[in-house]
């Protein structure tokens, strides 16, 4: 008995817990901090090369607005990927919801905010239903989500083309102008040399915050992590794995609908081609943000930073006049690097 090392007492534990909390927080800050430092270094170099075109309020605002759609898709994709799934259908769902919403807005006798709200509701209904359809074979037959969402990608794109007769559907109402191209706090911020905050950026910020809270502070969010970490343990703990997984795909479809609305509003039309490749962009954002495709880990905020990094990279390369083929090469290399770093980190942690 005397030989056994002393057990920690509760009082010590409380102190330890506080310390561990601090340590974990430091770890988090270190990770996010590391990304920010890397960003700043890149920014400094780039700014030097771009003769000051990069670090202007107008350009940075522009970058934020450009990443809106990808960041919103990445929110839903994060939930899906944490459960060790994948959603390949979101790009097509942007198109399908965009086309349906454009047609709907032209068909109903509403105007102004009620029209926007009703249109969004229709888009959400379409997107969430598609997400539900994605999920059913996954939870009922244990089919790989790669397959079900790939099938949905093809079907949704085909349907969008069919409905739109292969052409963008123009939006007749001007009710969406503010949503797509408007600015918030244009007046006050103008004094600081800022063009104001683009409305889509507000949407993105609200969604990122809301879903980050959903993921980290609620029972649902905890279950998402538990299922991705160990689905069997989650099931035996009484969690309804099927319900949680289904909701995750519904959320992803809903995010695609919001992105669809913002794109439709920006271009004043619902186009059956705007979403091509978006699903891969959103997966890239999630992965660059450090979420493991193996599931169990991830964060909405990290995915936002992933989207931001990709957006900045694109912007910088545009400013430097790098041709688009080269841009793809660089982007691919960055994604690969991010995954390699993630893998090495995992190995280091598991030792």
């Amino acid at each position: 008995m005397a030989a056994t090392p002393p057990e920690p007492l509760a009082s010590e534990l409380t102190a330890n817990a506080a310390e561990a909390h601090a340590k974990a927080a430091r770890g988090r800050y270190l990770r996010t901090g590391g990304a920010i430092v890397a960003l700043l270094v890149v920014v400094a170099i780039v700014d030097a090369f771009s003769h000051g075109a990069f670090l202007t309020p107008a350009n940075l605002t522009n970058v934020l607005r450009q990443i809106t759609y990808n960041a919103i898709l990445a929110i839903g994709q994060t939930f899906v990927i944490i459960t060790a799934g994948i959603d390949l259908s979101v790009g097509s769902l942007i198109e399908l919801t965009g086309v349906v919403m454009a047609m709907f807005s032209n068909a109903v006798p509403l105007q102004g905010v009620p029209l926007v709200v009703a249109t969004l509701a229709v888009g959400l209904a379409v997107g969430c239903t598609a997400g539900f359809v994605n999920a059913v074979p996954v939870v009922k037959l244990n089919l790989p989500p790669f397959i079900t969402t790939l099938a949905m990608m093809l079907m949704a794109r085909g349907l969008a083309f069919k409905l739109a007769h292969g052409r963008p559907v123009p939006v007749n109402s001007d009710a969406f102008d503010a949503v797509g191209t408007g600015f918030f706090l244009q007046g006050p911020l103008h004094a600081f040399g800022l063009p104001g905050i683009p409305i889509p950026v507000i949407w993105m910020a609200v969604l990122v915050a809301a879903f980050a809270i959903l993921l980290t502070r609620t029972r649902f969010g905890r279950y998402v992590f538990a299922i991705g970490g160990n689905e069997e343990a989650a099931r035996l703990a009484g969690i309804s794995v099927a319900t949680v997984k289904t909701l995750v795909y519904v959320i992803s479809g809903g995010c695609a609908a919001v992105a669809g609305l913002l794109l439709m509003a920006r271009f004043q039309s619902g186009s059956p081609q705007t979403g091509i490749g978006s699903e891969l962009q959103s997966i890239a954002a999630v992965v660059v943000g450090g979420t493991s495709l193996a599931g169990g880990r991830g964060s909405v905020v990290s995915s936002f930073f992933g989207a931001l990094l990709i957006g900045l990279l694109n912007n910088v390369m545009n400013l430097l006049g790098i041709e688009s083929y080269t841009q793809d090469i660089v982007l691919g290399a960055v994604i690969l690097l991010a995954v390699i770093v993630d893998e090495l980190r995992k190995r280091y942690l598991s030792r």
Binding site: P8, L9, N16, R219, F225, G238, S350
Partner: protein, 503 residues
């Protein structure tokens, strides 16, 4: 057995230590050409570890292996194969979608000018099979064969690789009587050609038919080797269980007279894993009922069905007198049933989550305030459990992956203790944890009894079942075969019932 000829195989003083466990503690035995040597022992006696050493899957920490009198090193499956050792595990190693002939020659495919020579493969396989009188549909995919046919493929595979010693782990477990007869006939034929067998089986009654000698292993040591003819089954069972009951079990308080029945299981059947038939028993408040039996007898499947981990096909479960419909783990938990699973890493824990997150996972609804998780309450309950269960962790925020096995097991316990269930089902609660942590888990079970819960415990350690149960139910082939009151349960009697040998 002429002493002049060196045995085909001699394993001498084999020791294998895993962290915290001495799995093999000096095992010695030998096998002669043309001999069937049976290896028997309780669950966990060390048979599988020994065979893995022979197959090159594990390296022994000390001891020697000799083939034909010459010392050899077996550092991998290839080396074992080159020495003429063929392993046939209980789970076959066939590629289900490849044809029988492709499986037979896997890794040894005949080629012609760099391309596969299918004709040569077919003739070579059919020649060997014809010589042995084995009939197999050579071009059929392996997945379409019966279990017995798959086993024949495995045996033929070993023979095609010119194996002189074939190790078979529980070869008859999944065979019908007729298939067993055919297998034994084949073994006899191969014996006549000088092929030797190491035959591992729990079915003691078949050993006189098939084996020449028997070696009993217990606690990682050779207990005795005897000619089968000189080994009556009663001796065999006695040698297998051997030791007296370990004294380190706490005193079990008697079940109060008239204590209410907290769990009643009636005619429960399940078909998910090992099929379970017609299981009925009850547990009183303050009582531990032990489920004894061999690995694969269906004990785990019984508790899984009660807990909704597998959905029972038939039967009723009553908790504290109320009938409950078990259709998912959730319904069982809601009814007050907690299952502490056997495999904590695969089923009990989310390893990448913290102690706190694992502790509250099954009862998170109780730690929720207006839709949000109340982390402070979570931390409070977790710290209480850390203290009560003496979980050695730097904090509640430690990732469970980084804890030792015993402490991980305590986190699993914490997860179910905070729910105040009425019935606790413990499946191998002390497997793979050290003796100190075991004692703590026993103490905890007593504390639970004092709360008035009922406990069902599955354990493969006979001393544990006997030492920690008020009653012992013996399970064999998915059915309860008998019941012993605490005093009446002797190791030999339980073992006899578990193996199907008339005591």
């Amino acid at each position: 057995m002429t002493p002049a000829a060196a045995p085909l195989l001699r394993m001498n003083g084999i020791v294998k230590v895993f962290p915290g466990v001495r799995a093999l503690d000096g095992v010695s035995f030998d096998v002669h050409n043309g001999e069937v040597h049976a290896l028997v022992g309780e669950n966990g006696a060390g048979k599988s570890t020994l065979m893995k050493v022979l197959a090159g899957a594990y390296r022994a920490d000390s001891g020697t292996i000799e083939i034909d009198g010459a010392k050899v090193t077996i550092d991998g499956p290839r080396a074992a194969e080159a020495l003429g050792i063929g392993m046939i595990y209980q789970e076959f190693n066939l590629v289900p979608d490849l044809s029988v002939v492709d499986n037979l020659l896997l890794g040894h495919e005949p080629t012609r000018r760099g391309l596969l020579d299918r004709k040569a493969a077919l003739t070579r396989s059919s020649d060997v099979l014809a010589e042995l009188g084995i009939a197999l549909p050579l071009t059929l995919a392996a997945r379409r064969l019966t279990v017995a046919q798959q086993q024949l493929v495995e045996i033929s595979k070993a023979l095609l690789r010119e194996a002189r010693l074939i190790v078979m782990d529980e070869p008859t477990a999944a065979l019908t009587e007729r298939e067993i007869d055919a297998l034994f006939a084949l073994i006899a034929k191969l014996k006549a050609r000088g092929v030797a067998f190491v035959y591992i089986s729990h079915r003691l009654e078949e050993l006189p038919r098939i084996s020449d000698r028997i070696t009993v292993i217990r606690d990682g040591r050779t207990v005795e080797t005897r000619a089968t003819a000189d080994m009556p089954q009663s001796d065999l069972v006695r040698l297998m269980v051997g030791r007296p009951l370990d004294a380190h079990f706490p005193e079990l308080p008697a079940v109060a007279a008239g204590a209410p029945i907290v769990l009643a299981v009636k005619q429960l059947s399940s078909a998910s894993g090992v099929p379970v038939y017609d299981v009925s028993f009850s547990v009183r408040a303050g009582e531990i009922v032990g489920l004894a039996g061999l690995v694969g007898a269906g004990r785990t499947d019984i508790v899984r069905a009660i807990a909704g981990a597998d959905v029972p096909t038939e039967g009723e479960v009553e908790v504290a007198g109320h009938r409950v419909a078990i259709h998912s783990p959730h319904s069982a938990i809601a009814a007050g049933i907690a299952l502490i699973t056997e495999d904590r890493k695969a089923q009990g824990l989310v390893l990448g989550m913290s102690v706190r997150e694992n502790t509250t996972l099954a009862h998170l609804d109780a730690y929720e305030r207006v839709g949000f998780i109340d982390r402070r309450a979570e931390s409070a309950i977790t710290l209480r459990e850390i203290e009560e269960l003496r979980i050695r962790t730097p904090s509640a925020e430690q990732i469970v992956r980084n804890l030792s096995g015993g402490n991980q097991q305590k986190v699993v316990l914490a997860k179910w203790l905070i729910g105040d269930a009425k019935v606790y089902l413990f499946d191998e609660p002390t497997r793979g944890i050290d003796i100190g942590a075991k004692a703590e888990i026993y103490a905890l079970m007593l504390a639970l009894l004092a709360r008035g819960v009922g406990i069902v415990m599955v354990s493969s350690e006979l001393p544990e079942v006997l030492g920690m149960s008020h009653r012992v139910l013996v399970v064999r082939e998915g059915r309860i075969r008998g019941e012993f009151a605490r005093g009446a349960a002797t190791p030999a009697a339980v073992m006899a019932l578990a193996t199907g040998v008339a005591a």
